[in-house]
Symmetry: C2
């Protein structure tokens, strides 16, 4: 893979993640776009790539690219809607990256938005699975993830609290994050293990919340990035990989093969190794996925990802910090927007603008989104280019 | 706009458009992908960009990229789902083009699929509009297009049969098209004008049909195209342009400004003028849109697009042939697949493989898709490179 033009992020815009946003879907998205353009110091873009998973059912909208461009006052630009189920935000970032890299587009904005506070969320979310097969078996996203977690605990003969520290870390990190949904207080291992059982063995604190949010980033060619912003964040690697679609068709459901390959591809393109990665904004929609993603990336051997949480390696001061601003679990997981929050948060970390959440000296960050039951995995590696 | 790598189509795959396909959504898409890869003479691709508008509601599927890749037996590839409402097929072609042009992807397949024979189609289709505004007013895609048509007839003081020849041409051309949904017989002006009034002044024959279909094209860098296929079709121009989202927010609803700009951009990139274009596969979902698209492209002055139909200029032997294999109206308009049918049909024309539908000596073809009420317009120009 020879990428023909290097691409950098020069503007970020994020809305607070909240249980219920006080504006509607299009306004949320337009606000994030405007904030990202302001941050980049530009008044216009050539193209907008929007991501969203649930607006078909929740807002009755199927034409989000043009809708958001119009609401943002961006006239006559290119606008498309990009999806990969629960990895949709990363899919929009990927296409914005391809568009700028190709030379066809000089200034692109990738914007993600999700307003989950209205409508039949669980039912719509389940369409990330194979509706015609999984749903006929009564499966939902939570039940499939519960199956994976149970299998993990059984296979490695682990206590039921083995994964509890993922939630503890995420909530700790969210406390100093203004835009996080859960800022109120830390949670203890005991809080996690006494929280409501949602679908055994998954408890409430093992799940990311239903919430509203929007986030955007502006991309330009790296060659012109310094003109735009004094701290451009280069996209060093970008990879989308799919796996067998249904969990039950995989040889080993505990191995996230798409995550494994996606990280390898992104690292090869970025010319970095695992030790170069200063933080990893992973897809902790469920604690078990955070654990398996760490294993798939190679940060721990199979069956030992949970130890990274238990032993503090995932803490901001640890070997491989994750969810540095709260992650999906405590910053929140407004589906289509999530990866744009990840990109913006890594940009803040690499610009040394992360305030109380700062990882000292961070120069390379990895972000990853998981679509469905890891049927699609999208990984980006970001680095400073100054 | 400096495109960094030229891209060509080296394989096409189309399923017959039918009222009800005898396989399900995923199988239809996988069959089209396989046919396109067979046509290109390749066994693997690096990426798949899927388009579909209605599967969220009609099949309960929101994760089509990975679903189709899995069904097609394409393991570990990139797969994303690209949309722009009724222009979704062209949006997937656009992203596949950007991916190959960028250097990130060497072999891409763009595949469109729609299975409209199950579920609440009209309701889902209306989400191409601004659901929160238009639908509150009781508007549907048909009613909005009827408003435009009525305004056109009134403004230019035309008889109610002014647009009838668009349907006549489309049905004539479909008679020799194996993959068209309407192959049975030609229709007369009288047939059109006595057909059922669907939403005045739109009659049944002014509308494209509800149908099932899937189509795909394989894209590679032009530099390696001749190795793949002896008649590669180069993508000379590609443009996506949005307009004010709602019809009622536009100064002149009879002017499709996004179509105007999109054609100009695509022609500038392709370095061609209108006289170079040998055929125009336009978005004749409704007769009035065919008419306005011809005007917006510059083939007729405002208010005179209908004359191109009346006087035979749109016929296969005419000055600007449209719907050469039946168009949306008579080949059929399986929404997410439509633009891939257009691309495949233009490839057949330029390869001189169009049989009874052949435009003699065709070297340049233009294709266009219209999202919603022309809120998004996507234009591609294809040419022979041998």
């Amino acid at each position: 893979m020879t990428l023909l033009r290097s691409v950098s992020i020069v503007g970020i815009g994020i809305l607070p993640v909240r249980k219920t946003a006080d504006t509607d879907l299009r306004q949320m998205a337009a606000s994030a776009v405007q904030a990202a353009m302001d941050n980049a110091g530009i008044q216009q873009v050539d193209a907008l790539y929007a991501s969203n998973m649930l607006s078909d059912e929740l807002q009755g909208q199927k034409h989000l690219g043009a809708l958001i461009a119009d609401e943002a006052g961006l006239r006559s630009i290119e606008a498309l809607h990009i999806r990969a189920a629960t990895a949709s935000g990363a899919a929009a970032l990927r296409v914005a990256y391809l568009a700028v890299a190709s030379g066809a587009v000089d200034r692109a904005v990738a914007v993600g938005v999700e307003k989950m506070s209205q409508g039949p969320v669980t039912q719509a979310l389940s369409k990330a699975l194979d509706a015609e097969v999984d749903l006929a078996q009564g499966a939902t996203m939570i039940s499939r993830n519960a199956e994976i977690m149970q299998r993990y605990l059984d296979h490695y003969q682990l206590p039921e609290d083995a994964l509890a520290d993922f939630a503890v870390n995420a909530h700790d990190n969210a406390q100093t994050t203004d835009h996080a949904i859960f800022r109120a207080r830390s949670v203890s291992r005991e809080d996690v293990m006494t929280s409501r059982m949602v679908h055994a063995p998954i408890r409430l604190y093992d799940c990311s919340p239903i919430c509203d949010g929007a986030a955007a980033v502006v991309l330009v060619p790296t060659a012109s990035a310094t003109k735009q912003h004094d701290m451009p964040i280069q996209i060093l690697g970008s990879s989308v990989v799919t796996d067998r679609f249904r969990l039950q068709d995989r040889q080993d459901p505990l191995q996230l093969q798409a995550a494994d390959l996606s990280v390898k591809q992104a690292m090869r393109q970025a010319q970095v190794t695992l030790t170069d990665i200063d933080l990893f904004e992973l897809h902790d929609a469920f604690s078990i996925i955070a654990c398996l993603s760490l294993e798939a990336a190679g940060f721990a051997p199979p069956g030992e990802g949970w130890r990274l949480a238990r032993e503090g390696a995932i803490r901001r001061s640890g070997r491989i910090p994750i969810a540095t601003m709260g992650g999906l679990k405590a910053r929140g997981h407004p589906i289509g927007a999530t990866a744009l929050y990840q990109a913006a948060e890594i940009a803040l970390q690499l610009r040394a603008q992360a305030g109380g959440n700062q990882i000292d000296g961070a120069r390379v960050g990895m972000m990853q989104s998981v679509g469905g039951v890891a049927s699609t995995v999208i990984t980006h590696i970001l680095g400073i280019s100054w």
